[in-house]
């Protein structure tokens, strides 16, 4: 064995990383080569020194609220750039601990994103531009253009006519929509109400029974014009759902909220 080759092997041997098949050859070489034996000693000293340093050179403990800081930063970054939503989000998977903002994105997309470039070029809506990887869309705070493409998102139900849908018994966020001009703009929805599934239960009587006292249906014009989008979050915490709901309410400015009364 030549010393040049042995040098590479020594650096692995010193840490126990040399394959067994090469160890015997190196060991034999070391018995006959004083220079390589000395080189091995130097490498051992360096390893020992680094081992000591690694053990004694430890970072300060992470702050106790590190997780909270990370979540706050995620939220901050989301709020810093609300108009830019990537279509990546439609493929997001539900991971209970980390999907908070992902869920927000999914429902934002479900409610607000369109791929219809022609519509946006016509300037149907003027206030807000959403830029995605594939298209541009323009959405008013109170009006959204629905794209049927998003019907296939897992855990997402709707938009379906409120009178026709059976609400699953799982926690989630929902949005009540109506069509302000179903004849001339059949794909346009206005956001009437955003809330949690639990709120929906308490409101189901008034929601599902149209009548003069039901302002949701009054706003919709007729029961057939009232729609619901439900995003099921079976493993979410109450706090996560609250944050999602607040983000959506801030984003879409629905006509009513639970506290405001319906």
């Amino acid at each position: 064995m030549k010393c040049l080759r042995a040098e590479q092997q020594l650096a692995l041997f010193v840490g126990g990383d040399l394959p067994e098949s090469e160890t015997a050859e190196l060991t034999a070489h070391l018995e006959s080569c004083r220079a390589c034996a000395n080189e091995l000693e130097r490498l051992k000293r360096a390893q020992e020194l680094l081992g000591k340093l690694a053990r004694s050179d430890q970072p300060d403990p992470l702050p106790a609220d590190f997780s909270g800081q990370v979540l706050a930063e995620i939220q901050k970054r989301r709020l810093d750039k609300p108009p830019f939503i990537s279509l990546f989000a439609i493929r997001i998977r539900w991971k209970p601990a980390l999907a908070l903002s992902g869920a927000v994105l999914v429902i934002l997309l479900a409610i607000g994103v369109t791929r219809d470039l022609r519509q946006s070029r016509r300037g149907l809506f003027a206030n807000r531009t959403l830029k995605t990887r594939q298209s541009l869309t323009v959405v008013n705070p109170g009006e959204v253009l629905w794209s049927a493409k998003f019907h296939f998102i897992r855990n997402l139900i709707g938009p379906a006519r409120l009178t026709e849908v059976t609400i699953p018994d799982e926690p989630g966020i929902y949005a009540i929509l109506h069509k302000p001009d179903p004849v001339n703009r059949p794909k346009i929805f206005a956001v009437t109400f955003i809330g949690e599934k639990s709120e929906l239960s308490s409101l189901s009587e008034s929601l599902l029974k149209p009548g003069p006292g039901n302002r949701l249906f009054t706003r919709a014009g007729s029961p057939d014009s009232a729609y619901i989008v439900l995003y099921l979050l079976p493993e979410s915490t109450e706090e996560q759902r609250r944050q999602i709901k607040e983000a959506l309410i801030a984003r879409y400015e629905p006509d009513f909220t639970h506290n405001g009364g319906i």
């Binding site: 040098e7 590479q8 092997q9 650096a11 692995l12 010193v14 840490g15 990383d17 034996a37 000395n38 000693e41 130097r42 490498l43 000293r45 360096a46 390893q47 020194l49 680094l50 081992g51 000591k52 340093l53 690694a54 004694s56 050179d57 430890q58 970072p59 300060d60 992470l62 702050p63 590190f66 997780s67 800081q69 990370v70 930063e73 995620i74 970054r77 990546f88 989000a89 493929r91 997001i92 998977r93 991971k95 980390l98 999907a99 903002s101 992902g102």
Partner: protein, 166 residues
């Protein structure tokens, strides 16, 4: 669960708790944004550690601005000649914080990643190959070069470190 390991890797790459914390935070933010692209056929941990290494490299790149590290930054070379205690005594006298990271800065990026994962974090060669998505042979080549380079740096500046056995 993974926070301490991520933080520790980041620390060994930067030598600074504050920087390591920034990197760890960035990793979890990236993780949050990338979960939808995670493919179940890959193991989660190697993928996460690779994310950590890349975040640390991005961070260091932003911080470095082309700075060239000189070994003399470790301390006063003149004092070393008078230091009969050798490098260990010198290290003991010197603030430990950041020394390892400065040693790793003597390495190429690939050598540095392999060195930190193997010699400072204790991952095995097959584990590192999975994290870096390369062959075990490649890992061993970088590891051997990294150890040799660090040993050479120590020998160069500490003659007593190079003393041969009789």
């Amino acid at each position: 669960m993974y926070s301490p390991r991520i933080y520790s890797i980041a620390y060994h790459l930067t030598g600074n708790s504050a920087d390591a914390q920034d990197i760890a935070q960035e990793v979890f933010i990236k993780l949050h944004g990338a979960l939808d692209r995670f493919n179940d056929q890959y193991r989660f941990a190697p993928w996460l550690y690779r994310l950590t290494l890349n975040a640390a490299i991005d961070y260091q790149r932003k911080q470095a601005h082309g700075r060239e590290l000189q070994f003399s930054e470790f301390g006063n070379p003149g004092a070393i000649a008078d230091n009969h205690g050798g490098p260990e005594a010198w290290f003991e006298k010197t603030e430990l914080l950041g020394i390892i990271s400065r040693l790793t800065e003597l390495l190429t990026k690939k050598q540095s990643r392999v060195f930190v994962l193997r010699d400072l974090q204790g991952f095995s060669t097959p584990e590192i190959a999975k994290i870096l998505q390369c062959s075990e042979i490649t890992v061993r080549v970088h590891l051997a070069n990294a150890r040799t380079r660090i040993k050479n740096a120590l020998v160069k500046f500490y003659p007593e470190f190079a003393a041969d056995n009789p």
